[in-house]
Amino acid sequence: MSHEQPAKKPVVFRGGGFAPRRIRWIGLAVFFVLIGLMEIGTQTGFITALTLPKPSDVFGTFVHLWESGLLWKHLLPSVTRLAVGATIGTIAGISLGISIGLFSYVRAGLVPLVAAIFPIPKIALLPLFVIWFGIDEGSKYALIALGTFTPTVVATYSAVDNVDRTLIRMGQSFGLSWRSIVLKIVLPGAMPGILSGLRVSLAIAIILLVAAEMLGAEYGVGAYILEAGSLYDLERLFAGVAILSVLGVGVSALVGLVETRLLGWRS
């Protein structure tokens, strides 16, 4: 009979992970490292000038754009189109999405219609919009509005469907009016879903904005990119693309800001 101590060993840790943390600066660092690599590659000739422009040249183009005032001339109309079109589209989308969420008849009538419109590449309808709303701003607003409208509708009515029914029953049991139940329970309850839908639909709006401007606009980031592309002016092309990325990041930051304002109760 042995009196050996049973072997001790620590329990292996196997938890952790699956919990996204907020780490600042890493995103920016990745970005700068990539740009740095591109710069080194183009400077040394490892990447030929026809493959990629030098990031420093692109930056120079950008500075020139800024100094000549051309930047604002292109950016302002683009931002206006985005703002007007996306505002119309999301407001209409949220209203219809809530109606679909609340009224069975609206749902039965319009959900198939929305499903039918959703997969149409909206850009294909631009000629139609030009006839309906004119070659100028009208058709661009309409295109962006329609492009943001459908995803917003779908996101909104699924968000309304997911509002906790016991909260609604609670409202009814305390004799709240229908209006109060919608405004104070359904709408705030659906807000997380609506805002995450907004992120997607605003990205779509930027894509449509550029497409619309490429098909017919004197000024605008899309027109600028198209012109650069047709001249194979890679520096200007990349400067234009960079502006779009910044626009995208800006819009996403804006939604993030709204989220922290409206959804502070969550975290």
């Binding site: 016991t166 909260l167 305390f174 004799g175 104070k184 329970i185």
Partner: protein, 256 residues
């Protein structure tokens, strides 16, 4: 105001849930409803509170609710049903705003009910910052704010640990002793039933019919944990329910 249930029957599709339930709910008394899982207790409560329409039978009010009662039939839900985006104060003002009570009067009511449920310090807290017991106290404060004639409580303490449950039971008893309210209290915890109930209604397994109504005459304030008389009642109730519970348990398994 008394309530009277007259021959309530209810089914969900082909599933008969309640069958011929008649019951009196006298003013100022707590009526506990116990029964095996799935026997229709929550359904019965929703019918009493007008959230569901029975297939046949009706619930009648006898006499008028007190004039100062803002919402005569008021629920306290098992899962609290607090709006996570509103503070404790906001959750209570929610149910007052709609009845035209704002400003000073609203503040006075809120301060009063929060004091009665010992929540005064947590006025500005959000639900996620509160423990389960405190959330349920907020829900009780919200119910008290509308001065109900009848409180309809659906397993209000089931989501809480047993220590918190004891504390809240004491709170409910002291609330009732100071100002007797009428309540229908659904629970599957027999200990809660014998501590809080003036009458205990035992429902059979589905379809729920009333098997027996057990009255407990001992005043609420004299009922203590481990009291021999109450233990006997609890044992008696358990014997009543045992076969039903066993049968109900088997039934649930055999559901396709």
């Amino acid at each position: 105001m008394d309530l009277q249930l007259e021959k309530i029957c209810h089914s969900y599709g082909s599933l008969e849930v309640l069958s011929d339930v008649s019951l009196d709910i006298p003013a100022g008394k707590i009526v506990c409803v116990v029964g095996p899982s799935g026997c229709g207790k929550s359904t019965l409560l929703r019918i009493i509170g007008g959230l569901e329409r029975p297939d046949s039978g009706r619930v009648v009010q006898i006499g008028e609710p007190p004039a100062d009662s803002i919402n005569p039939l008021t629920f306290v839900f098992q899962d609290f049903a607090l709006l996570p985006w509103r503070s404790v104060r906001g959750n209570i003002s929610l149910v007052l705003e709609d009845h035209g009570i704002r400003g000073e009067r609203c503040d006075a009511i809120i301060d009063d009910v929060l004091a009665r449920t010992k929540l005064s310090e947590f006025k500005k807290a959000l639900p996620r910052q509160l423990s389960g017991g405190m959330k349920q106290r907020v829900a009780i404060a919200r119910a008290l704010a509308v001065n109900p004639a009848v409180m309809l409580m659906d397993e209000p303490l089931s989501a809480l640990d047993s220590q918190t449950r004891e504390l809240l039971m004491d709170d409910l008893i002291s609330l009732w002793s100071r100002n007797p309210f009428t309540a229908v209290y659904v629970t599957h915890n027999l200990q809660e039933a014998v501590r809080l109930g003036h009458e205990i209604v035992v429902l059979s397994r589905r379809p729920g019919v009333i098997r027996e109504i057990v009255a407990i005459d001992m005043p609420l304030s004299e009922r203590t944990m481990g009291d021999a008389g109450l233990e006997a009642k609890q044992k008696y109730l358990w014997n009543l329910m045992r076969e039903e519970a066993v049968a109900a348990d088997k039934e649930l398994i055999s559901v396709p």
